[in-house]
Symmetry: C2
Subunit: 494 residues, 2 copies
C-alpha cells in the first residue's frame, strides 16, 4: 500500500490479500451504524461494523436522546396530540432552513410513524408522558416534548403545533447513567448483536477501496496496522460530523471555530473526506446546530437583548433556535434581562438540576441604572423594556410573538445575566445522499457500493435545527443505508 496516511482511494488491484470480509461493512457504531447493521443483517447480509473507539455508542449514546418523529406516532396519539405527515413537513420545511431537501423531508415525514414503531419493536422504550415545560430536555423520564419551537412563534402559525421530540425512557438521569441516548443505543446494539452483526473495535477507517467506479472495501488501521476489509455488497459510512476537524470548520462553518459542542473528538470528518476523494458531492456544509447556555425557564420569563439592547428572538422558543439567532445573527452577544420575581419563579420552576446556573451579573432598581451599568447606549435598553412592557401588560408581544403566558411586564428590581459567548455547536452538513442513502457523486449519480447516513451526511437540516433531527435522520437513513448496502446480496452470493 502506497501512502497509508492518504485518504485517496486504493485500487482493489493493489490489494494482495483481504484481511477481513463481509457483505456489508459499516464504518462507525453510533446511531447510523447500528441501524444500518440491523437492517442489513435482517436482509440476510453478513455484517461487519468497524468502530474507532473501544465500544459501540458514538455521540448518540452520550446525547439527550431526542428522536424527531411525528405524523401521528402512537406516542403522540396516546398523549392527545394530533399530527400528520403533511403538518410535520410544513414545520420542517419552514424551520430547517432555506434549501432544505424536500424529497428527503417528505420521505422522512411519510415514514416517521413506521420508524417509531420499528424503534419500539427493536426494544427502545418510550414512556407515555409529556413534559410541557420550556427546556432543552426533560429532566425526568418523559417520552415526549417540544424540541424545535413548534409551539412558538413563528412556527405555531405555519403548522399546527405538535411535539415531536421522542425520548427513550431514561434511568437515573440525575446520576448521568443511562440517559436518553444510551437507552436508544443499548437496545439497538443488543438487537444487532443478536442478529449476528460482528463488530471490531479500535478500527480507524483510512480510505476506500475501489474497483473501477465501485467501492468494494475499506482500509482500516488497527493497533498501528492497516487492514484491508472487503465489502461484498456495500460500504456504509457512519462516522459522524466534522465538528473536530479544524481545517474543515475554518473552511465551512467558521462560526464554530473553538466552540465544538455535543460532538465527540472522533468527529473528524474523515468519512466525508474519503468520499470526496471519490468525487462525492456535499451539501449545507455551513449548517450548524447551536446550543445556548441560557436556561429556558428563565429566558421565557425575561427578555433577551443583543449588544444594541434590542430583542431579537422570542424567548419562549426552542433554545437551539435562540442559539442560532445569537451566534449566527447577533455576533454571539446576548443578555437576559429579568426582574427579581421572574428570576426566582423561573429558578423554582426549573425541574432540572443545572450543572451551574448563571447568576445575574448586574442588578439595579431601575432600567436606566441597569442600562448604564451594562454600558449600553443611553435609551436603548430603556426603550426596549418600555415597548415590551407596554404590550406585555396586555399579554401580547407583537414584536416577536412570545406567547401570552410568558408576557408579563418587567418590574423592579431588575437584573441582567451575561450570556455573551455562551454557545457551542456541531455541524449538520456533509455528504449529499439520496433517500436510499446512496452517496451521490457530483455528477448526480450514486457512487456504486457506497452508502452513508448520520452526521457525515447532509440530512433533513439545511441551516435550521430541531432537537432529535440528528438521531432522527441518522437512524432513519441509517436503516436505508443498511438495506441499500445489502441489496446487491443475491447477486454477490450468486
Amino acid at each position: 500500500m502506497a501512502d497509508d496516511r492518504s485518504i485517496r482511494p486504493l485500487s482493489a488491484d493493489d490489494v494482495a490479500a483481504w484481511d477481513r470480509e463481509a457483505d456489508v461493512v459499516i464504518a462507525g457504531y453510533g446511531i447510523a451504524g447500528v441501524t444500518a447493521a440491523i437492517e442489513a443483517a435482517r436482509a440476510g447480509a453478513d455484517v461487519l461494523v468497524l468502530e474507532r473507539t473501544s465500544g459501540w455508542g458514538g455521540a448518540a449514546a452520550l446525547a439527550g436522546g431526542f428522536i424527531y418523529l411525528g405524523g401521528g406516532t402512537p406516542l403522540q396519539q396516546a398523549l392527545g396530540f394530533e399530527d400528520s405527515p403533511a403538518n410535520m413537513k410544513a414545520f420542517m420545511m419552514a424551520a430547517l432552513g432555506p434549501g432544505a431537501d424536500e424529497a428527503k423531508i417528505t420521505d422522512y415525514c411519510d415514514g416517521s410513524v413506521e420508524h417509531f414503531n420499528w424503534l419500539v419493536d427493536n426494544g427502545v422504550p418510550f414512556k407515555e408522558s409529556f413534559y410541557d415545560q420550556p427546556g432543552w430536555e426533560t429532566p425526568f423520564d418523559d417520552g415526549l416534548m417540544y424540541s424545535g419551537g413548534e409551539n412558538s412563534a413563528p412556527y405555531n402559525t405555519i403548522a399546527t403545533p405538535a411535539p415531536r421530540g421522542h425520548v427513550p425512557q431514561m434511568e437515573n438521569k440525575r446520576t448521568g447513567q443511562k440517559g436518553g441516548g444510551y437507552m436508544l443505543m443499548k437496545p439497538l446494539a443488543d438487537t444487532a448483536e443478536k442478529l449476528g452483526v460482528r463488530a471490531e473495535y479500535d478500527m480507524r477507517v483510512q480510505r476506500l477501496i475501489i474497483d473501477g467506479d465501485r467501492v468494494v472495501g475499506i482500509v482500516a488501521k488497527q493497533y498501528g496496522r492497516n487492514l484491508t476489509i472487503r465489502a461484498r455488497t456495500g460500504v456504509v459510512l457512519a462516522t459522524g460530523s466534522f465538528a473536530y476537524n479544524k481545517q474543515m470548520i475554518e473552511s465551512f462553518a467558521p462560526r464554530l471555530i473553538d466552540r465544538p459542542g455535543a460532538a465527540i473528538e472522533e468527529h473528524d470528518g474523515s468519512a466525508i473526506r474519503m468520499a470526496q476523494a471519490l468525487g462525492a458531492d456535499l451539501a449545507h456544509m455551513d449548517a450548524t446546530e447551536v446550543a445556548f447556555f441560557g436556561e429556558p425557564q428563565l429566558m421565557a420569563r425575561g427578555i433577551l437583548v443583543n449588544a444594541r439592547g434590542q430583542r431579537y428572538v422570542n424567548e419562549d422558543t426552542y433554545p437551539g433556535r435562540i442559539g442560532q439567532e445569537t451566534l449566527l445573527r447577533n455576533d454571539n452577544q446576548a443578555y437576559l434581562v429579568i426582574d427579581e420575581d421572574a428570576y426566582e419563579t423561573g429558578c423554582a420552576a426549573d425541574s432540572s438540576t443545572p450543572f451551574f446556573r448563571f447568576r445575574p451579573k448586574w442588578v439595579a432598581e431601575t432600567v436606566e441604572e441597569l442600562e448604564a451599568d451594562m454600558n449600553l447606549p443611553a435609551g436603548t435598553l430603556t426603550s426596549t423594556v418600555a415597548v415590551y412592557n407596554r404590550h406585555a401588560a396586555n399579554g401580547e408581544d407583537p414584536v416577536l410573538g412570545k406567547k401570552a403566558q410568558w408576557c408579563k411586564p418587567i418590574g423592579s428590581p431588575i437584573a441582567a445575566l451575561d450570556l455573551r459567548n455562551c454557545t457551542a455547536g456541531f455541524t449538520l452538513g456533509g455528504l449529499r445522499t439520496s433517500v436510499n442513502s446512496e452517496v451521490l457523486h457530483v455528477s448526480g449519480e450514486p457512487i456504486p457500493g457506497l452508502f452513508a447516513a448520520g452526521r457525515c451526511t447532509a440530512g433533513v437540516c439545511a441551516g435550521g435545527y430541531a432537537s432529535g433531527t440528528s438521531l432522527g435522520d441518522g437512524s432513519f437513513y441509517g436503516r436505508r443505508a443498511g438495506l441499500s448496502a445489502a441489496k446487491g446480496l443475491s447477486a454477490a452470493e450468486g
Copy 2:
C-alpha cells in the same frame, strides 16, 4: 468517449487523438483567464484559452471594475492615503469573515503594490482622482474610492482607513459603454493577444482528462462536437461562480435562491464540479456577495430598520455590507426612514444617474403616524427614532457608530422607503487553492497539472465582502495560476 454529458474525468488512455494542444490550456476568458494567459505566455508557454461565449470578457467586462488593492499603491500615495500591507491585512481579516484564509490574504496584501504596477504596465488606466462620496461605484471616471467600509464602523477602529477600490478609468460610463470592468479587460485581452495567446470561442468545457493523478487536458464541446484538448504543462480553470447553478445554490448558498446578481448565466459551477470529480476540496461555499438596492446617499442620511423597527447596521457603511446584514441576518426586511429634508438633500447629492429611484412608500407628519402606517408594532419605530435623535443631536451614534457627519436628528415630515427583498448576489466559495493557485485535493496535496483562479475558487473572502476583491483575487491568483501552469514547461519540452 463514454458519456459526453458526464463531468467525470476521462482517462488519457481513452483519447484516441488530440484535437488541440498547448502547453497551458485555460478554461474561461474573464479576468482570471486573461491574467493567467498573460503570465503563462510571458513564461514562454504556448497558451490556448477556451471560452464558452463568443468573446473574451466574462462577468469582469460587465462589472463596475473595482480591483481591491492597497498596501500603498502609487495611486493611493498620489492621492494622499497612507496604507501598508499590514494595515490592509488587518482590515481584510476583520471584514472578510471568520475563517478567512490568512495565508492567502497575507500574500495578497504583500503583493498588492506589485500587482497594481503590473496592471498599469499592461495598459490598465487609473485616473488620479478620488471619489469621496458614499456610493456603490463612482459615477465618474475617478480611480479610487472606498469600497468595503474601511472608513466606517466598526472597521475604522480596527485598521487605519484607506480606500482600496481601484477603478480603471472609464469612458462614457453614463451611456453604459466602456465601464470600469471593460477598461480592465480590454487592455489585458489586447496584451494577451500581442503575446500570442490563442483563444477559441464557443468552447464549453466538459470534463478533465487525466493520466493517473495528473490532469493532462480537458474535453470541450464546440458546435455540438466534443474536442479533446491536450495541456502539456497545465490546465487553468477560470469559469466563474456557481450563481446560476440551481442545485448548487440550494445545497450551498440557499439564501440566494431566485436572487442571482452581478453574475452571468455561464456561471454554472461547472469547473467546480469537474474538479470535485477529481477529489478537489472546497471552501466557504456559503459565502455570498449581496448587493442592496438602497441608495447610499439616502441611506447615510436616514436610518435603516428591520421588520421589528430596529436599526441593525450603520447606514454610512459599504452598501454590500448593508446587503449582507439585510439578507443574511435580517430576513431581507429593510425600511429606510428619512425626513423630507434629508431625502431631498440626498437626492441632490447623488451624482449618479439612478436607473430608478425608490420613492417613499409611506409619508407622515409624525413618527407615530408613520409607525402605524407601516404596520409596525406600537412603540418600536418611535423609540428607535427617539434614541437615534437623542444621540444624533450631539453628532453621535453610540448604537452603531455612524460617523458624525451623517448624524442629524430625523424631523418632520418623515417618510419610509420599502426596501424589503431588494437584494441579489453572487457566490464567493469554490475550489480550495494554494497561494500558487494549485487546486488542492481533499488530502491537502495539490492535484498535479490543475490550477484555478477567480470565482470558481474560494479567494480572500470567507463570508464578508469588499467590492474589488473578486476582480482583485481573480487577477492576482489568475497570474499565479498562469505562472504555475507554465512551470513544468522545460520538463515538458525537454
